[in-house]
Symmetry: C2
Subunit: 338 residues, 2 copies
Amino acid sequence: MRRHYATIKDIANALNISFATVSRALRDAYDVKAETRELVLAKAAELNYKPNVNAKGLAQHRSYNLGVILPTITNYYFSTVITGIQEVAYGAGYNLVLYVTNDSAERERDMIGNLSLGSLDGLLVCVSSDSALSTGFQGIIDDGIPVVFFDRVVEDIHTSKVVQDDYNGAFEATEHLIGNGYRNIAHIAGPEELAFTRNRMQGYKDALKKHGLPVKKEWIVHSGFSQAHGEQDVARLWKCRQKPDAVFAVNDRKAVGAMLALKQLNILVGQDFGVVGFTNDPVAAIISPSLTTIAEPAFEIGRISCQLVLSHIRKKKFDAKEVVLPGKLIVRESSKKA
Amino acid sequence: MRRHYATIKDIANALNISFATVSRALRDAYDVKAETRELVLAKAAELNYKPNVNAKGLAQHRSYNLGVILPTITNYYFSTVITGIQEVAYGAGYNLVLYVTNDSAERERDMIGNLSLGSLDGLLVCVSSDSALSTGFQGIIDDGIPVVFFDRVVEDIHTSKVVQDDYNGAFEATEHLIGNGYRNIAHIAGPEELAFTRNRMQGYKDALKKHGLPVKKEWIVHSGFSQAHGEQDVARLWKCRQKPDAVFAVNDRKAVGAMLALKQLNILVGQDFGVVGFTNDPVAAIISPSLTTIAEPAFEIGRISCQLVLSHIRKKKFDAKEVVLPGKLIVRESSKKA
DNA sequence: CTGAAAGCGCTTACAG
DNA sequence: CTGAAAGCGCTTACAG
């Protein structure tokens, strides 16, 4: 049988005071005699009192629920971001409501349409690849629910955003390949519509330009983010008249796919061919040759994103912030030159 | 400004009926005239009505929150389990409240102690490595809150449990090594206290026995679950008078650590030395040589665990089920023999 | 089949 | 500094 959990009334009865006073004593926001407060706190501890989140939320017009919308949780980057979000949310007494879109714009739209907005105090979102026309979010913000974008942001929408420094990371990655002697550097990019794809591509292009290398259109191939996409991209590159001698991949999974495909082609990565990724997925250190990459501050992105929604929720006054966190080049074997 | 979301009263007013009737019409559990129901449903859709979860929960003595306690979410197995849990929970209108213990019994105890049990309808848990003395859970069950264990279960507690077939998976893995000609097979195990560690170890031992091979105590080393632990374990094995020529690892991360350590020792895995893991982490296919392993049905474990708590919640009548899902041997390069 | 009413456990003006 | 009271948005016996 379900036991009865101590409520505010139990405390009030035990102490012979009104439950309104108990309520006030519990959150020290009001004037309550110090003595009274201590009695209440002691009794609450004794009875193992925990506030009923539903009642609290109902009375306060809050839910203490934070929605998190993201493409998937089964990869290093996203699971780490969630861990960061979770840490901050847990500390602040907020619950996370996960919505996994499977990187499908359609499913994303469905989920957003079915959102119980009345039961969500804020939203953390990383949009799906092809949700360029991410309507919906503006309406949510207009309703007064803070939305914070992370990683994959919607540029047109004015709200807080947290991302890694995609441009400079890509620039540094590309420059690293150039510094190691590679000259014909291709780019395996993500879906064109995504801002961070464009930013990483721009970093790549600008690094080439800075060093007087031509930007060849056929050496930039766009596709999805999976390992299989990375393999396919190499196949496409291999149809070019002039083949590249290095590749900067938009993420590690694609870099891994590329390396596997290159192995099939008997290309020696780290000697004849350079590869640099982006993320610093643990697999980067395990694959052979190990993968040079830009480490992303995934945990920090999660923490800061969550801190931002919480502060927006508390302040009501909404001043959007854009946070850009630096990445870090991790040099391994895949970018060496024979 | 936060907009007002449509409530049951808005629907009632628009239709000139009582809000009690609206409430009934919305959940078709009661006798409501078909005509009335349709009017209500239509108006609800028109007003984009979503029930307020807090109010619903408060009135029903439910929270529609499910707690999920697990060691970490940043690895393939757990993130996949969560995805399975999430899918079922989402479909049933339940929210997930994540508690990440970082595989620390202390943190686990803290979190359990601070649980707002009044706001949780059920609990899905995978205990931390050293929480042998997992008190706390029995009390929660006694309070009437269903608890389902998955993967790492507490044997002494009578409640539903969902695990992969650890014993047979281990048996098959070990037999596979034997079949491929390895004779001196060590086992890199997990913490001794965990049931699944013991089950996998037993499968390993029994396979050896079946084939008339001796079980050597010094060839069984226990430690944690990380890649680094796998590396250390190999170092320990290498101090044995007789060195093994193969190893069955309790999971893929340790297998990967072992392979890396063996590489340092200039041992050729897949030729002089066999390695088999457990999980089928994507890294198993990426590492070179690729890793033979037992694929775990992680997504299914998540789905079924969640279905079980939900059915316990609904039925109130608590009949514990123990579900064991089969794994599958995936043969790759690491277990070949020269 | 439907309405009026009480209640879930809290918060928060309003008095005093 | 504290109490009485209304209310948050729902559910659910109780009548009829």
